[in-house]
């Protein structure tokens, strides 16, 4: 039997590894089903063990975090206390407003999404240090989650479900560049299309508003829910953070500051509603 010399054998190994990796990448981009099954099985085995390790080591890791993040925690505690006071006041007002909205929508025979079924999910931390435009939640098709479902927190819209497994789902967040979102400015009723601009950046309105549009900083923005929109109507999105008429391009530049804190999500609510009432293919 012919035996390759060591140098050629090493090069062959590298070429084989490169080709196999490229094949895997191609299969993944094409949504090759069995890869998803392998993922589900491996994660089904490893995730509970990792969860156990997390619990066992939590006294040590909590002590480390308390030590290393003490100042941050104190500041955040103060901030959360202030926010809680404001939210308690808002809650009373929004209950009354919600009731009025429901009655009004019933009168004009529009579906009230506030009555849609929901499921609360926990955000799962994925390993690694690099940021992502998506998060994973611990609810999947077994819990009724479907592609296209909207995901919210108590503050407002977070994103939408893009991938669904039996037990997990992937949620694409609002700040993903080119994430399209139909919005309506409360007060003026103006309808526009906004898009994400990356992590930590405000959304940008790209279509629908003209220089004559009467909007100002601080105006609240909700989902438009117009026909064909992927989101139910009237989910809080954010507030107008910047309005600027660009004299060179003669365009109105409007930005929206999302109300949901997209970078520190722990629990979210999935609204079990899709635009057509059917799972997306």
């Amino acid at each position: 039997m012919a035996v390759l010399d060591p140098l050629r054998r090493r090069r062959s190994t590298l070429i084989l590894l490169l080709l196999t990796s490229i094949t895997l990448l191609s299969l993944d981009y094409q949504g090759f089903g069995p890869l998803g099954s392998v993922q589900s099985v491996v994660r089904g085995v490893v995730d509970p063990i990792a969860g156990g390790a997390d619990s066992v080591t939590s006294p040590i890791t909590n002590a480390w975090r308390s030590f290393s993040e003490f100042d941050d925690l104190e500041t955040e505690n103060d901030r959360l206390r202030d926010e809680l006071s404001a939210i308690q006041g808002d809650a009373v007002r929004s209950r009354a407003a919600e009731e009025s909205l429901r009655e009004l929508l019933e009168e004009i025979e529009v579906d009230y999404v506030g009555g849609a079924d929901t499921v609360v999910a926990q955000v799962i931390t994925r390993p690694g240090n690099f940021q992502s435009y998506s998060v994973e939640i611990d609810r999947g098709s077994n819990d009724g989650v479907r592609r296209g479902n909207s995901v919210i927190t108590g503050a407002g819209l977070v994103g939408r479900v893009t991938e669904v497994d039996d037990r997990f789902s992937e949620v694409q967040l609002l700040h993903q560049p080119d994430f399209p979102l139909g919005v309506r400015v409360i007060g003026t009723g103006e309808i526009a299309l906004a898009r994400g601009r990356g992590i930590g950046n405000d959304l940008e309105v790209t279509e629908g508003l003209t220089e004559e549009t009467d909007i100002s900083v601080g105006d609240p923005v909700v989902t438009s829910g117009i026909q064909g929109s992927s989101y139910p109507p009237d989910l809080a999105v954010g507030v107008i953070s910047n309005v600027n008429f660009d004299t060179s391009s003669l365009e109105l530049k409007v930005q929206i500051d999302p109300v949901a804190d997209l970078e520190n999500l722990r629990f979210v609510t999935v609204i079990l509603w899709t635009v057509d009432g059917e799972p997306e293919s």
């Binding site: 196999t20 094949t23 490893v46 997390d54 890791t61 994925r126 690099f130």
Partner: protein, 181 residues
């Protein structure tokens, strides 16, 4: 003997994966946690040689891919090449020293993370651009260098029962080097 080797290989991979998923994210330094899987791949190359390092890196990268948002095959590609390169470093190294191992694992981690970002951006994973890459590379490399001793111990133990045969192994490499000399 081979069964024992595979068992050790599986145990080390599982242990590092579990620590990476369940423990290190809760022990950040400056908001960055250690990248132990990458460190283990480099240690596997350093202790096992070119082919073992490459194959182990590819397999471990593939397993890790199943837990990431990035496309399946991306970590496999980067880890495979890094393991293969680490094996080459081993081939050119005569003396074993904990300090050199730590420095090699630290430097290899930096190269691996930068390669991961470069490959990711080339594949259209633009979210990688938005991470504080310099800080992540610096801190994760230092943390992996600190963990180098444990990683080298684990990979030495893993290869001791020779699960991949002698292919590319330390003994064979030393023999080849002797023959060349």
């Amino acid at each position: 003997m081979k069964a024992l080797g595979w068992t050790r290989l599986g145990l080390v991979m599982l242990a590092v994966l579990v620590v990476h998923l369940g423990v290190t994210p809760n022990l950040p330094v400056g908001g960055v946690s250690a990248e132990l899987p990458l460190g283990l791949v480099i240690a596997a190359g350093l202790t096992g040689g070119v082919e073992r390092g490459g194959i182990f890196g590819f397999v471990f990268g593939f397993v890790l891919d199943l837990f990431l948002f990035t496309p399946v095959g991306m970590s496999a590609l980067v880890f495979g090449v890094i393991g293969w390169l680490a094996g080459h470093v081993f081939m050119d190294r005569i003396e074993e020293s904990p300090l050199i191992s730590a420095m090699t694992i630290g430097a290899g981690t930096a190269v691996g993370l930068l390669s991961f970002v470069a490959v990711g951006i080339a594949l259209g994973e633009s979210s990688l651009r938005e991470s504080p890459i310099g800080r992540i590379v610096l801190i994760a490399s230092l943390m992996n260098a600190v963990a180098a001793f444990a990683l080298m111990l684990a990979s030495n133990w893993m290869w001791a029962s020779d699960p991949l045969g002698e292919r590319g192994s330390r003994e064979r490499a030393l023999r080849e080097r002797t023959v060349r000399a």
